[in-house]
Amino acid sequence: MGKGLFKKAHFRIAGDCGLLVEYGDAIHPDVNHKVRSMGIILEKEIPKGVVEIIPTYRSILIFYDPFITTPGLLKQILIEQEKRLPEIKIPPPKLVEIPVCYGGAFGPDMDFVASVHGINEADVIRFHSEADYLIYMVGFTPGFPFLGGLPDILHTPRLETPRTMVPAGSVGIANAQTGIYPVSSPGGWRIIGRTPIRLFDPNRKNPILYQAGDIIRFRAITEKEYQQLFTAETG
């Protein structure tokens, strides 16, 4: 049994239209793998009356229509489905590569991150783009991925005063997490670079390019490549 996994799922009542199912109590890839697997099973055969299935770090929130189903019924279905888990082949997570132009005007906190850890900019770029990151959850703003797997040496506290506007595409660090701002929004993460890729487009068939449980890898690009990709994305 993996770290932080519960022996049995915990169920919590979230109002009259929500049921929260917890599979563990830690931010850990094993717990998230369980969440992802259950999410895939449920999406394949959506139980009657279920309106939305939202997988996150260690739990799944199920929105249901109380005219059609009850939490009692849903609990039974979830327990049954969990038993079937070993027989079901779960497809491997998707690997999504995100090009990032690090530092300069795109990464206003690059100098701070490098100096606070006593390394130089090239080291920050190398460490940040070498790791594979697990998407634990998507939320906060459309398509914002909460990523785990940031190398210890890059762990950096948030800004004391959040910025009122962080441009879309900004790549940031908050303590042990890294993430990308898909749309411009206020934010307190330390910004080290920017991607030219449009992570969120409501008019696209797939509005976002990944989902919780997938893997993100960053690839360092030059400013020239950034401009080329940016033009291709917007043109």
Binding site: G15, D16, E52, G139, T141, P142, S185
Partner: protein, 315 residues
């Protein structure tokens, strides 16, 4: 067809419908009309189907120039309304014609008004909804609140054959002391005396109250000894009563998908409309109800609304 030219929008005027479902796993909140009760009645008064979009008015209404003949109705917060300077009534349909000027004033009671128009507000459907989610710059009118000079369109619809009016007894009263029912959980086990405090105190609505959430002020809702101050971030349903580090409750509403603090209780669906009408300075008292009771109230509220709507359309 062009229907409104916005002369002044008021502080926060947006296009909303029933909401956007199925995209919270992508970080896209439900959005939609905060007071669904008043919203549905506005649509019913002009003969629209329930999935039509309307304008959500916050605290102070807009001044609009009418650009074509249609029926309109204003519901929700009690706001003074005038058509070409002559007083007009809320909670009933009204015929308007090109060149008319509609003025909607300050809310005397309640917080949010709903202005429905025959055929519904016509903006592109994004991810299955016309609702504005301003935080994500999507939906509604160009993903933002309306501004002076915006020209809004409505869908095609025949004019009503006779006016519609809501019975006086069906008009909700918005009190300054709001009674809200809530189901304990999902993290009620993080609290002991905190539960007592939540359900036996009065909380003030602060100025930090918007479509994302309402911050309240009152006695400290303390966590059980030794409980962590925050939880692993997880999605939150509308109505979640979250207790952040300062121990002052926040009721999360329709433009938030994730929270990182324990949620002591969750407002029942049928009382969310009452929160939408609460304004800064109002007092909120919570009463605990069971899940079973909440489901029964949910059904009752649905049937009550359906009865009113079918009466309106049959008259």
């Amino acid at each position: 067809m062009d229907i409104f030219n916005v002369i002044t929008p008021g502080p926060y005027l947006t296009v909303q419908d029933r909401g956007r479902f199925g995209y919270q796993k992508m970080g896209i909140p439900i959005s939609g009309a905060l007071d669904s009760h008043a919203f549905h009645l506005a649509n019913a008064l002009v003969g629209n189907p329930p999935d039509s979009a309307a304008l959500e008015i916050t605290i102070l209404g807009p001044r609009l120039e009418i650009l074509s003949e249609t029926d309109i109705a204003l519901t929700g917060a009690e706001m003074k309304m005038a058509l070409n300077g002559n007083p007009a009534k809320c909670w009933e349909s009204m015929r308007v014609r090109p060149g008319d000027i509609l003025d909607i004033g300050q809310a005397k009671s309640g917080c949010r008004g709903y202005l429905a128009v025959g055929g519904g507000i016509d903006v592109p459907e994004i991810m299955g909804s016309r609702s504005t989610y301003a935080g994500g710059k999507l939906g509604g009118f160009q993903g933002r609140p309306l501004k002076k000079g915006d020209v809004i369109q409505n869908g095609r619809k025949n004019l009503l054959t006779r006016p519609r009016r809501l019975a006086y007894s069906d008009i909700p009263k918005y009190l300054t002391e709001v009674h809200i029912r809530a189901i304990p959980g999902p993290q009620d086990d993080f609290f002991d005396t905190g539960i007592r405090i939540l359900f036996h105190s009065s909380f003030l609505v602060t100025a930090k109250a918007d479509r994302m959430g309402y911050r309240l002020q009152g006695p400290l809702v303390s966590l059980k000894e030794g409980m962590p101050k925050s939880i692993i971030s997880e999605p939150a349903v509308p109505g979640s009563i979250q207790i952040p580090a300062d121990l002052q409750p926040i009721i999360l509403l329709l433009e938030q998908t994730v929270g990182g603090y324990a949620k002591i209780a969750t407002v029942i669906s049928s009382d969310l409309s009452k929160i939408a009408q609460a304004t800064p300075g109002d007092a909120i008292r919570f009463e605990p109800v069971s899940l079973e009771a909440a489901h029964m109230l949910h059904r009752e509220e649905f049937h009550r609304l359906q009865t009113i709507i079918s009466l309106l359309s049959s008259r």
